[in-house]
Amino acid sequence: MLKKLLNVVFVVLAGGLILSACQPAATPAPAAFTQAPTMEATLAPGSVQLVAQGATFPLPVYDVWTKSFQFVDPSVNITYAGTGSGAGKKAIVDGTVDFAGSDSVLKDEYSQVADLQMLPTLAGAVVPIFNLQSSEKDKDGKAITISELVLDRQTLADIFQAKITNWNDPAIAKLNPTAKLPEVGITVIHRADSSGTTEIFTNALASFSADWKDKVGAGSTVEWPVDKNGNGLGAKGNPGVSVAVQNTTNSIGYVELSYAVANKLAYAKLVNKVGKIVTANAASIQADMSDFANAFDAKLNAKIVDGGSEGSWPITGYTYLIVRMESMKDCLKARKTVEYIKWTLTDARATKIANDLGYASLPKSVYDLVMAKLNNLTCNGAVVSK
């Protein structure tokens, strides 16, 4: 009898412990969000659950945005999972998410779901990182590290196409007259996995060099000519490329700017389309975005590589959110999705979060285009936003 009673007590205790672990942990409010919520509070807190997944490139920003929006509108609870652009695109086509994030543009998906719309949210830059030791040694006999490098658009494409294979090639030496470039081969490190970073980088190389566009092309995965030539290596993810470059002297690779800055990697300056030497930073990304303000098609896609103004960084790309313009089934969720995306674009706190993390926000002209699209989103025939 006592044994039975003890068994019952244990089961109840165990069940209680398991159930209590299911409650979400309370996160403290970020500093800017301590004032009262500005949006309607007639809905119960957490009653609207928005689900999203997609690109990992803007993940640091999206993580903070989705948590912060809960303090602006407590009725909405958004989860964004960083599963990759490909998975995000597939999810919005299958209808398992309310919106998706992607670095790469939709192609065949429009034939499956006609009303998909890509909305640019942020822009990021890809930079060539390098590890270079000069041919002269210091007085202790140790090699001196070269910390600054200037490359040309054609030179960069030729390096990655295995046309330039030595560091002291005349093309590189011409751009860096004071550096004592070593007489060694270049080890080129590229991404092994499919990624939006590769897509932005290869789009840029295709714009820099007609031969690259013809022989290699652009995409999230390409067949790298340096592999066939024997001086290429594939590494996994931005961290993989970074470690491989750091561990290989006289090598070159490419990573996202926010990653290079956070890890203090040396990255090269480029001579852009109009002949000016530029370095990648928020200003040069903004300049490049402004160059292509009118280049958006109806689907709001734009390749913004190789901008034509003086200060623009040529290897830039947008990251997009993908929504369904007409076929969202739950109209309350559609309204909340539009409100969330509008908040990320209009609220100064949201912009500050993105800029602090190293991403550039939309210029005014692009912002207007995106807002116009959001104002036209309909559900069951009626426009959802006020």
Partner: protein, 337 residues
């Protein structure tokens, strides 16, 4: 019956009643129990058939579109998903050669470890050492990869690769396997093979140790009685007796090496270089699938990746069958002689 069992204690009476009820409910229990067990076993078989069927169906486009050319062992194979020209030989070669290196290194080491643990180890060391070896098996694959790229590759593999290039790489006979300087980061098929061997040693060693411990004492005693030394006993009596078990353990290890993904992807260099050398970066079947499956360019691309998964499945199956055949032959011979 009730009259015979008259107990003064009401609680015992209750217990007997409950027990009788339980017996009554379960007295035909054998049949549903057998049914449950059989259906669980059939479920496992159904899962395997389901996996093969799905792999076969979802690789149809690639099998018809790319044909047998996909598997041809040529040296300058290309993998271009954009144009649609894809050949899988570099990946098949990479998986097979890295698993081969892994088993060549791991087998002698594991047998040595298991012999030490079973025969020669002092009692106080036996349990802690066995536990530590099993701990090696618990280390996640990704951790092996990270340790590899940060520590193992630059400090051990790169010097080893340079040494092999200077010595064996200059001899024409060995050049097919040891040609070319090793990349400075150490990323190569050799690195993948050695890390794989570290990963499969605990599997093979643990099972082999159990096999050795299961050999009846009579065998050892008979051998000593005939005047053998300890080493003669181990080499001539115990190892032949345990050979089928060791072979079984090696199959387990080989299976893990063939399918290992994360650690291999991080250290093999992921390059489609047209070289067969161990010292150059390569690619493996699991690596190409994990690298490219999330973001495929076309359905031909994703079907081709699924076909690679199908090939990997068949290679594992064939190697398993061959090994089981060898075990069966060995045990037959042993029973005869």
């Amino acid at each position: 019956m009730k009259n015979l069992i008259s107990v003064a204690n009401p609680i015992d009476n209750q217990l007997i009643k409950t027990r009788r009820l339980f017996t009554k409910i379960t007295e035909h229990g054998d049949r549903p129990w057998n049914f449950l067990l059989i259906s669980v076993s059939l479920l496992v078989i159904a899962l395997i058939i389901g996996v093969v069927f799905l792999l076969w169906r979802d690789s149809a486009l690639a099998r018809t579109g790319l044909g047998w050319d996909f598997l041809k062992p040529i040296s300058n194979a290309s993998w271009n998903p954009v144009t649609g020209k894809m050949q899988a030989w570099p990946f098949i070669y990479g998986t097979l050669i890295t698993s081969l290196i892994a088993i060549i290194i791991a087998l002698p080491v594991s047998i040595g470890i298991s012999i030490f643990l079973a025969e020669l180890c002092p009692n106080w060391l036996r349990v802690p050492l066995g536990w530590m070896i099993e701990l090696l098996a618990a280390i996640p694959s990704v951790v092996y990869g990270i340790w590899g790229i940060f520590v193992f590759l630059p400090q051990i593999i790169t010097p080893l690769g340079n040494f092999l290039w200077i010595t064996l790489g200059k001899i024409p006979v060995f050049q097919i396997l040891f040609m070319g300087p090793i990349p400075q980061s150490g990323m190569s098929r050799l690195a993948a093979g050695i890390i794989l061997s570290i990963m499969i040693i605990p599997t093979i060693a643990a099972v082999s140790r159990d096999v050795f411990l299961a050999i009846p004492k009579a065998q050892r005693e008979a051998s000593y009685a005939l005047g053998s030394t300890q080493w003669e006993t181990i080499w001539r009596v115990l190892i032949p007796y345990a050979s089928s078990g060791i072979l079984g353990a090696s199959i387990l290890g080989l299976g893990r090496a063939l399918g290992e993904t994360m650690a291999v992807t991080m250290v093999i260099g992921n390059s489609l270089e047209a070289s067969s050398s161990l010292l150059r970066p390569g690619y493996s079947m699991a690596s190409i699938i994990v690298n490219q499956f999330q973001d495929t360019v076309s359905s031909l691309h994703s079907n081709a990746l699924i076909e690679i998964a199908l090939i990997l499945f068949f290679i594992t199956l064939i190697l398993n069958l061959v090994a089981r055949l060898m075990v069966w032959q060995a045990s037959k011979k042993f029973q005869k002689g």
